[in-house]
Subunit: 172 residues, 2 copies
């Protein structure tokens, strides 16, 4: 991250990273499948957080309610780390290859959420739709939350985005 922020992702070679970490290039590739993965380290926890929250939602909760609950758990986790989130996103936004990988990660989370919903008895395609809609809301809200001029709470932004989604899709 240091190096990526200093000189950008493309300008940083794996050799550079390895040197900074006091390791060899080969060892780097034993810890990360590729150069881009470095920045997506917390993925497992991130995904599990959503899955647990969906699984733990009240039985009575609708699919979207369960997903909404998960989004709020996520919001609470992120709230104290806005500065860090912004820096990280700046690195990602500066590089297409990283954006590509980010999409994969979000898709993986959506897929895991869909599985968790199916576990709750939700059928397809409702499970996938609810899961992917949830991640869409997350992305849109996250973007607003880290925007320069924003001072509002992540949870609040998520609520509004959810309301906007309901509004957009029910009006159709």
């Amino acid at each position: 991250m240091e190096l990526y922020l200093e000189r950008g992702f493309e300008q940083t070679t794996v050799a550079d990273i390895a040197e900074r970490a006091g390791l060899t290039e080969r060892t780097f590739f034993r810890h990360f499948v590729d150069k881009r993965e470095v920045i997506f380290g917390g993925q497992a926890d991130f995904q599990q957080m959503f899955v647990d929250a969906v699984a733990g939602a009240p039985d009575a909760a609708s699919p979207l309610d369960a997903v909404a609950a998960a989004l709020h758990v996520a919001a609470a986790q992120f709230e104290p780390r806005r500065a860090w989130s912004r820096e990280r996103q700046r690195v990602i936004d500066a590089n297409p290859a990283l954006q590509e990988r980010e999409l994969v990660k979000l898709a993986a989370v959506a897929s895991a959420i869909a599985a968790a919903l199916r576990e709750r008895g939700v059928n397809e395609p409702a499970a996938s739709l609810a899961a992917q809609s949830g991640m869409t809301v997350f992305r849109v809200a996250f973007t607003q939350w880290i925007a320069d001029d924003n001072t509002r709470e992540f949870a609040k932004i998520i609520d509004e985005a959810l309301a906007a989604l309901t509004n957009v899709t029910s009006a159709g």
Copy 2:
């Protein structure tokens, strides 16, 4: 595509492709930014089709109606090419790097649709939410449409997916 189907994407080197096409490797890279782009050739048309359809929807149409109209245009285009769509998707599904690129392409379309919606006077975040929801529906419906056991029309599947989306998001 021939080579990708024969031996798989990873097992096909750019040198192989160039040879088959009667060109040099260097020339290949003058036509495609990278090895993966080969399979996403029609992207510009694909995207434009959505944008035009959204722009051309009746003024009275809600954002989701406009997107739904675009999905139907897309369905009509794809309908006669189911076999081809399946082969292509098989290649993509067999390779993570291609799936990654596919997500980028779909995200680009969603982004273009959002812009077209804004052109129609739709505000954010409604525009992005409607656009991304639309692409979500497209993906889910497309997957069902090319499934082994499916014999139904793409348009019909899209309608059902749209209904399921409305149902899922309004029930929340």
